[in-house]
Symmetry: C2
Subunit: 437 residues, 2 copies
């Protein structure tokens, strides 16, 4: 993409309303724009990252055998009356009345709706287990939306739901999601720590939160340093038989939120105990018959008797993950994207606007990278080099290729790694190889 | 995908509420389920087609140089007061009040919101032209939602907006979209006819509707048979210079809605005049300063003076297109998907459940097709062959591979083309080649 044909409204000043790094940087990098409190437009650069994060979440759900569908944003109030949550949910639920005075709401989650779908179509134990997910916009009318996409009102969530015959089978569904979540975070470049959690208003008796560490985290957490040092993708089970032992192993590491941490009862040596601020990036629940019973979502067993299905739900805030990634990966100059979710892999800058040799070399490199299927952003604007450098650091692409007349005389361009800051003067061939072409 | 691991709740009976073929077939094929009047869940099969249609729409917008962003579903009422449309829009607008008594609405379209974004960031003529689009859920509170996704309340729309310096430049943006629309329909397997249209409540003085022909169309239309016989992709311009002459050529064919058609003033020979029912599948508008003037979206020219931007908007109902495609392409047995949007390219059926040789051959073919990157649905359910045949015809995959013990003895499988109905007994190698592997 040529920047002159893109829409990248970066800001030079820090926006006053942004209290945390990710909010500030997403506004400054031209990724988002607030439309109303807690409601954002995803500008083109932000949308590119959102789609990459969403794609990784989707791939890991599909790998776990979860099937995608898409439920609407607007729901009927009646379903929520059936489960008993319509009144419980309080003011966070955005309630709507249509032209025929029917009571609707903007879905904050989908336990009721999917239970209704499944009870309609699934009658026999032979149709279970059934694991379904969708990635859809949700709305929660937070009393005080803040921190940008970290606590917005309209947000993109992946929510999955499992329907099983009994608790043993439900635990397998739960374990598959547990693994899918760890794989997802690892691919996003995040070190996520599973922590046993209270189930809260969702109900049920088995639940884990996934927490990443970042200075601006919302709560203090404690964990085993050993967990932080290992690569969970290396340890992922190779077969269904290994799944339970993997989950046992992963949940065997010490990890606790502040409320649950008892300094006098830590089961690991003091030098392995790590304490830091944490951000919640996902939450999974097994809650048995909590919804299937009141909503009469039953199945017929082989002997002709009926029983409520056993359910779980598995949520991850896809839009929130962008904020979490930035909180965990930025510096003074801007964002530092993990390669897997960077909006572009390489940025190209010419130092001297109007220098024909530089422009020609930039075009040549742009074409070579594009031909290899590498996402490139070529800053072809008529701007000072200083402005271009600042913008490229701000938007945080993994690699920069910088082209100037002096380098070209020597037959080299400069390649900069955004994360390490390392700069090298390389021939074009070596520069292309360095950035992976 | 193995059907036993998918979620495909097909219906044997025709649903009473469905008046037209696409609505009936989408319900029966397990593509959609109604949640409330005009509000649907996209079940896994339906979602696959929706995403394929969406991808083609997106590719053609990107090809036209239009840049994607994503605006939220919920908008502030204030913006609509600025443009003067808040009161005009009437009961079709779903109006919402949040917990702080702020007036919001579920966006039925985005002229106001994007004008607000662009006036914030775009100040200089150097930043124009600017062409942006998004693909987002919209809500229109139809008084009587019907015809399934053809006239739903919550629907997926691609809406693009152009911002230009003057009318001449705006016409280039308009022409690019005109071409993008024709390319999109052609790739979707639809014969779309551009018809000069009234601009209605959007305003402005240049507008085209795109109409496809189908028996169940909502209105009578007239067109030149020659247009229906040609392949518009063949005629697409190869360069920017050819764009205007292409548009002139394409709009030179006679085409008129019933209201505009005067039987006494038809400029083509009677034997070239074709009359049929039509369905609107897209609408594009140039409306100049209609929104930029009241909303003060101005730019500074080289001489320091300011002028309102010239705008256009370009809408296509992505979810509605699925209904239109089915209306144009089905038979008594079910849907007949154009290859470009089929949920799977091939379906595999074994005639005799539990026959080990058939199962092994099905697995072999499934693996071979999957390895080639071809989307396959393998019906591995423990069902009678008749049920499987009916379901496969109903869901309309382009190709069926049917495996039975008698064929295997002869070393052949049967390959059926869903559109032509042609069946051939072929060796596995030839069968794979026939379906494109």
């Amino acid at each position: 993409m040529r920047l002159s044909q893109f829409f990248l409204p970066t800001l030079k000043e820090n926006p006053a309303e942004a209290q945390i790094a990710s909010h500030r940087l997403m506004l400054r990098a031209g990724m988002i724009r607030q439309q109303s409190a807690g409601i954002y437009t995803w500008l083109p650069l932000g949308l590119r990252v959102l789609r990459k994060v969403e794609a990784i979440v989707r791939e890991e759900q599909n790998r776990a055998g979860v099937v995608e569908l898409l439920m609407p944003t607007i729901q009927s109030a009646d379903l929520w009356r059936e489960s008993g949550r319509y009144d419980d949910y309080g003011k966070e639920m955005l309630r709507i009345t249509d032209r025929h005075e029917r009571e609707l709401l903007y879905g904050p989650t989908n336990e009721e709706m999917l239970t209704d779908i499944v009870r309609t179509f699934v009658k026999s134990y032979k149709q279970l287990p059934l694991n379904l997910y969708h990635i859809q916009w949700k709305f929660r009318d937070e009393v005080r939306p803040r921190f940008g996409v970290m606590r917005g009102r309209e947000f993109l969530m992946k929510d999955a739901y499992s329907f099983d015959l009994d608790e043993a089978s439900a635990r397998v569904s739960y374990n598959k999601q547990f693994l899918a979540y760890l794989r997802t975070y690892a691919r996003l470049g995040l070190k996520a720590i599973p922590m046993k959690a209270d189930t809260g208003p969702i109900g049920g008796d088995l639940s884990h939160e996934f927490i990443i560490l970042a200075e601006t985290g919302e709560s203090q957490v404690f964990c085993d340093k050993d967990w932080l040092d290992l690569d969970v993708l290396d340890k992922a089970p190779k077969s269904a038989e290994e799944l339970q032992s993997f989950v046992d192993w992963a949940t065997g590491f010490y990890a606790a939120t502040e409320e649950k941490h008892d300094p006098n009862a830590v089961p690991i040596p003091a030098d392995r105990l790590h304490s830091a601020r944490g951000i919640e990036v996902g939450h999974i629940f097994y809650f048995g018959e909590k919804y299937s019973k009141p909503m009469n979502a039953t199945i017929t067993l082989a002997d002709g008797s009926t029983t409520p299905m056993h359910m779980g739900s598995y949520g991850v805030g896809v839009s929130r993950l962008l904020g979490a990634i930035i909180e965990a990966s930025h510096d003074e100059a801007g964002i530092i994207w993990p390669e897997a979710v960077a909006p572009y892999h390489v940025g190209i800058i010419t130092m001297k606007a109007g220098d024909a040799a530089s422009d020609a070399k930039a075009q040549e490199i742009y074409a070579a990278l594009t031909a290899k299927g590498i996402d490139v952003l070529y800053d072809d604007r008529d701007e000072r080099a200083g402005v271009k450098f600042a913008d490229l650091d701000l938007i945080g692409l993994p690699w920069q290729i910088i082209i100037g007349p002096r380098g070209l005389e020597k037959g080299v361009v400069e390649v900069k790694n955004r994360r390490t800051g390392q700069r090298d003067e390389l021939s074009v061939t070596d520069a292309l190889a360095r950035v992976g072409a």
